[in-house]
């Protein structure tokens, strides 16, 4: 059984026995991991109080080759995100990031770009618009996992998008032109400003502030995409503001 060192974000913890804890982690090197931290609930342990939600740690673990839980043996806190502890909307957004990573990524399937994006998002939350930061994270998550919506042409006929009467359809995988909007599946009216917002969020210009109305519209669109792909709404979705 080989010992490994990973840098990992704590996504979820569950108490296991009097002193132990099971942690779900998202690491840069290995993707999602689940491990048993024996003594992880003790105040004085080799886990340095690092097994707390949304804490970045250097972890030492023993990988189980038989398919059981990995054994976490040590954790050193690298970074906490203090703004999450000061603003409730930022904290809920942080929980949402953790939920999406925990439920939507696979074990041993690393996504270094997504890991970096998650850390950047957690660092940014509480500084400026929480809503826009979450939309950017969702956009990057969808792109990284291969679910990026089609926003540059009609997702049905692949024709050009006019500036009027656009709709978004999660089932179709993107924006629909007026000619393709008939048919089954939920269609959500999409303003040209919101389409511009989606394009901006997918680009390096994502920090340019979106109008409240556009952000609220995109919140609905993004929630619809994620709910459609996962087959159920995320638990934290109702906690997110516009």
């Amino acid at each position: 059984m080989a010992t490994e060192k990973v840098k990992a974000l704590v996504l979820r913890t569950t108490d296991w026995s009097e002193t132990s804890r099971i942690a779900t982690l998202f690491s840069r090197e290995r993707g999602k991991l689940r491990g048993l931290a024996k003594g992880g609930r003790r105040l004085k342990s080799s886990f340095d109080n690092g097994l707390d939600l949304l804490t970045l740690c250097d972890m030492v673990l023993i990988r189980k080759t038989t398919g059981g839980l990995d054994l976490l043996t040590e954790a050193v806190v690298v970074r906490r995100f203090p703004r999450l502890h000061r603003e409730l909307s930022a904290l809920y957004a942080g929980y949402y990031v953790a939920e999406l990573l925990a439920d939507w990524t696979e074990e041993l399937d690393p996504h270094p770009a997504l890991f970096d994006e998650a850390l950047e998002a957690l660092e940014d939350l509480g500084d400026g618009s929480v809503g826009q930061r979450v939309l950017r994270f969702e956009t990057r998550l969808l792109a990284e996992l291969g679910y990026a919506p089609v926003i540059d042409w009609c997702s049905s006929c692949e024709g050009p998008l006019s500036a009027q009467a656009l709709a978004f359809c999660a089932e179709a995988g993107g924006v629909l032109c007026p000619r393709c909007q008939a048919g089954p599946g939920e269609r959500r009216r999409l303003s040209t400003e919101a389409l511009g917002g989606m394009r901006a969020l997918a680009s390096e210009k994502w920090r340019e502030p979106l109008a409240d109305r556009v952000r609220a519209e995109l919140r609905g669109v993004m929630g619809g995409i994620i709910t459609h792909i996962r087959g159920k709404p995320p638990k934290l979705l109702p906690y997110l503001g516009g």
């Binding site: 009097e18 707390d52 806190v77 603003e87 953790a98």
Partner: protein, 203 residues
């Protein structure tokens, strides 16, 4: 887990299975305890059984602080010498016990019976938040001390409560955090030092 002559679902197996559900008790400890009870005098075992039954039949939540009690009001809420203008909010009854053991605090308590954990589906409706707000709205409370655990979820619960309590005109404070008394700086971890620096105060 079955003894050689015991069928699954028999009295002994059932007791072992029930004991093994307790925290810190594994199958082997459950077996040991079962055999200990089997060998013990009947009166001793029945006293234990009565105590267990009484626990669930006679213990209720204090009408004020929601701590477990045998009476309508717990001992601490019934004590007129305690200061009713300060309420210390804790997650679990065992946290109240720990604070009482430390001594020094002369105010009252409120037990939430958990903390907000949206990822686990635990929302405000699962805690005794309404009862706390009712206490504060009833008047006479000047300060509410947040003594939730210093974890992300504990801090989140304290944040949520303070957003509800502050508009009611009470002072909302939280426990200090940082260096334990008697320790040395050299061995303190980064978080302890950061908290201690942030929470520094004048002499």
């Amino acid at each position: 887990m079955n003894t050689p002559r015991e069928q699954p679902g028999g009295v002994i197996s059932r007791l072992m299975a029930e004991l093994a559900k307790l925290p810190g008790i594994g199958p082997k400890s459950a077996e040991r305890l079962t055999h200990h009870l089997l060998a013990a005098r009947r009166e001793e075992v029945l006293v234990l059984a009565d105590a267990l039954r009484a626990l669930k039949e006679q213990i209720r939540r204090c009408e004020l602080c929601c701590a477990p009690t045998e009476h309508v009001r717990c001992e601490l809420c019934a004590d007129t010498r305690r200061d009713p203008s300060i309420i210390c909010v804790v997650e679990q009854p065992r946290d109240l016990t720990a604070l009482q053991r430390a001594g020094g605090y002369r105010g009252r308590y409120h037990v939430l019976h958990g903390c907000l954990s949206p990822l686990d589906g635990i929302g405000p409706e699962h805690l005794t938040i309404d009862a706390l707000l009712d206490r504060v709205r009833a008047g006479g409370v000047q300060e509410v001390i947040m003594a939730t655990n210093p974890t992300t979820e504990g801090d989140g619960t304290a944040l949520y409560l303070s957003s509800l309590l502050s508009p009611l005109g009470v002072r909302v404070t939280r426990l200090a955090r940082g260096l334990p008394s008697g320790s040395v700086l050299e061995f303190a971890n980064n978080q302890m030092l950061a908290d201690a620096l942030e929470g520094r105060r004048s002499f």
